[in-house]
């Protein structure tokens, strides 16, 4: 069924698992920000909601993934709506700062309220996703494929078309009678939901949730999505997958790795602003159509 059924390299499996989860982070960022043009600079807050909720529960009751994942989905969707309601009327840098503020408040609180959150040490001892390394990988892979597929289909659907129209011109959509607030909030809820589920899966995957694996993601999600290409879910997801994969593979280079990462980002914003995979996709399509003409 999958491409790697005989995969026995645990290290690669582990890197793959992380990379596909990051693909979901990037795709879920794209679903709100890439589609509607509301650039969320605090995506980590939505990931944190899912992850920390699982952490809170498991510090009293060892919750199993089959229960916690749907729970995380509901809670993070509601959270997305609650944050979305007041902030979605904001535009451009105002929205960016509002979301950044939310994520920073979360970060500060999760350090300060250490009785609840474990502070900088985070919450550990969360039930593992599954018992084995390989089964965990398949679990993560299945979830990631499903999540990306659902967002992709939603994005391709009429719903996604309306979201894209909002990116271009909210007034024009309102004039046609489209309830723009409903769509913006829905997009926020979907984005937040998948971010939250991914957050809860990560908590189960590591058996841990803490600031070190959550808060850098506000920025990383944007980078991954933008470098991959926004507005189409799959390019963003591929951006998330490959950047993470490469970054893990290069981790022996330490600081050079991070430096290289930012160089890739800078070069791609300057020279391939539509995103690497959007660009490649377009190239393949034109080659394809040329071949078709022949």
């Amino acid at each position: 069924m999958y491409i790697f059924p005989v995969f026995k390299d645990y290290y690669l499996l582990n890197v793959f698992s992380i990379a596909v989860i990051y693909a979901v982070y990037a795709a879920s960022w794209d679903f709100l920000s890439g589609f509607t043009g509301k650039e969320n600079f605090g995506h980590a807050a939505f990931i944190a909601i899912g992850g920390y909720m699982i952490g809170f529960i498991s510090s009293v009751y060892p919750i199993k993934p089959f229960l916690s994942i749907p729970l995380a989905a509901v809670v993070s969707a509601i959270f997305g709506i609650l944050i979305g309601l007041p902030t979605l009327k904001l535009k451009g840098p105002y929205f960016a700062l509002a979301t950044l503020a939310v994520a920073t408040i979360f970060e500060k609180l999760s350090i300060s309220l250490s009785d609840l959150t474990g502070g900088e040490e985070g919450i550990y001892g969360i039930e593992f996703l599954t018992q084995g390394q390989i089964s965990s990988f398949y679990f993560v892979l299945t979830f990631a494929v499903l999540a990306i597929l659902i967002m992709y289909i939603l994005g391709k659907s009429n719903f996604g078309l309306i979201l894209k129209s909002l990116r271009s011109d909210e007034d024009a959509a309102r004039a046609l009678g489209i309830k723009i607030n409903f769509y913006k909030i829905s997009a926020f809820a979907v984005s937040s939901m998948f971010a939250g589920i991914a957050g809860s899966i990560v908590a189960h995957f590591y058996g841990y949730i803490g600031p070190d694996i959550v808060y850098p993601l506000s920025l990383n999600s944007i980078i991954m999505a933008v470098v991959g290409g926004i507005g189409g879910i799959v390019p963003a997801a591929l951006g998330g997958f490959f950047l993470t994969f490469i970054s893990e593979m290069l981790s022996e280079f330490g600081d050079w790795n991070q430096l290289l990462y930012t160089v890739v980002l800078i070069l791609s914003t300057l020279f391939l602003p539509s995103g690497i995979f959007n660009y490649l996709g377009a190239k393949i399509r034109t080659i394809g159509s040329k071949a078709g003409e022949k």
Binding site: D9, Y10, N14, I111, Y124, G125, G207, Y208, S251, D255
Partner: protein, 405 residues
């Protein structure tokens, strides 16, 4: 021509035989882009070179595999999996930061790999071993002291030195808002309280705070004579500088991580004088007969003094060496664990650079002939003196000249 070729072949073969000779493959975890990680890397390398030069352990050389954990749980997990499955290491040493280590104990348990830890100071780490010995027995804390023990050494100094000598009655806690630091400060305060000191003010500031004047002011207005601090972040530098500049009328005693190295003097532009911090089981004091030599050798080798994680990092390989040499079967994990549990580097002895003795939960024994915390002070003359306990004293504690109690 043929001769040359066959000669080359022989040379190549002999190389490959040489390479195939069995080694102790040891994975080293650390955030190498930080100072803590650098200490681990340098000290472990130093110990390995020494042991290898001396013929290795049981005739087998040590081969180190360094993996950068970038200070993140996720990278540490990937690193452990890579070390255990791909590099197939025999042991893991290192691991800095309680969060990542705690989170990865389960991975260690799953991979069943012996882990000699160096830089996770949360008491919870070895609590895990206590809770489920058979699952977590692979972990040994070679260092540093856990936060409770670090707090104890600060508290003991206040209770047994400052209180009797200077009749200290009131103290304040000003510490960074991190779990590890809070535990140190609270433990120290608890011991001080038992000695009759009243805690008149408590403030936890977020990492990255620029201005402490309000906290100092409130502490001294409440009558504090001593400020118990625990600052594991770089904030300790500006904290100390501001304390000096404001001539705060309370002595600074506690655990400022940045103060535990000679560079502190430059980093504060000399405004570190009178600052007093506990060095967890290490420092330029004769903890064992080798400690001061190690300090000097490290400085000569790397151009910088060892940090507080350097001591346990250096010790790990010697602890391992001792255990392997005494183990019934050094290739059997169970036997090695049993041997490790018996390792003792006594205080004042000649083994290791800091005392090591394990509790049944694989934590360091604190006090007695076990691990210890040494109180150091930056003296007015600019020297860095061990002032407590008396056995290791290299100087007398000085009361800041501006303080009027």
């Amino acid at each position: 021509m043929k001769k040359v070729l066959s000669f080359l072949l022989v040379v190549l073969l002999s190389f490959s035989i040489f390479a195939a000779a069995k080694t102790w493959k040891i994975g080293v975890l650390g955030p190498y882009q930080t100072e803590n990680g650098m200490w681990v890397q340098q000290a472990v390398q130093m110990a390995a070179d020494e042991i290898n030069a001396d013929g290795g352990i049981l005739g087998r050389k040590i081969e180190l595999v360094f993996q950068d954990t970038e200070g993140s749980t996720q990278k540490m997990q990937t690193a452990i999996i890579k070390l255990t499955t791909k590099d197939k290491v025999d042991f893991i040493i290192g691991g800095v930061g309680s969060g990542p280590v705690l989170a990865n104990l389960d991975i260690m348990a799953r991979q069943k790999i012996i882990w000699l830890g160096t830089g996770a100071a949360s008491p919870d780490v070895t609590k895990k071993v206590a809770e489920n010995y058979s699952k977590y027995k692979y972990y040994f804390r070679v260092g540093t002291l856990d936060s409770i023990a670090q707090g104890k050494s600060v508290g003991d100094f206040i209770a047994n030195y400052l209180v009797p000598k200077y009749n200290v009655k009131k103290a304040a806690i000003i510490s960074v808002d991190l779990v590890y630091a809070k535990e140190i400060a609270e433990t120290a305060a608890e011991i001080a309280k038992q000695a009759g000191v009243e805690i008149v003010y408590t403030d936890y500031f977020p990492a990255g705070t620029a201005d402490f004047s309000a906290s100092f002011k409130k502490a001294t207005e409440a009558g504090a004579q001593v400020i118990i601090d625990a600052i594991v972040t770089a904030d300790g530098i500006q904290f100390t500088k501001q304390w000096y500049d404001l001539k705060v009328n309370a002595a600074l005693v506690g655990a400022i991580a940045a103060a535990l190295k000679p560079e502190f003097k430059d980093q504060t532009n000399g405004k570190c004088v009178y600052e007093t911090s506990a060095y967890p089981n290490g420092g330029p004091a004769p903890l064992t007969t080798k400690t001061l030599d190690f300090f000097e050798k490290h400085e000569n080798l790397y151009g910088v003094a060892p940090g507080f994680i350097s001591f346990p990092a250096y010790n790990t390989l010697y602890v391992l060496k001792e255990a392997l040499e005494n183990a019934k079967n050094p290739d059997n994990d169970e036997d090695v664990i049993k041997a490790l549990e018996k390792v003792v580097f006594p205080l004042g002895g000649d083994k290791g650079v800091a005392p090591v003795k394990f509790t049944e939960n694989h934590d360091l024994v604190y006090g007695g002939d076990g691990a210890s915390g040494i109180i150091f002070q930056w003296s007015k003359s600019g020297s860095w003196n061990a002032v407590w306990p008396y056995e290791y004293k290299t100087g007398e504690w000085e009361k800041p000249e501006w303080i009027n109690w």
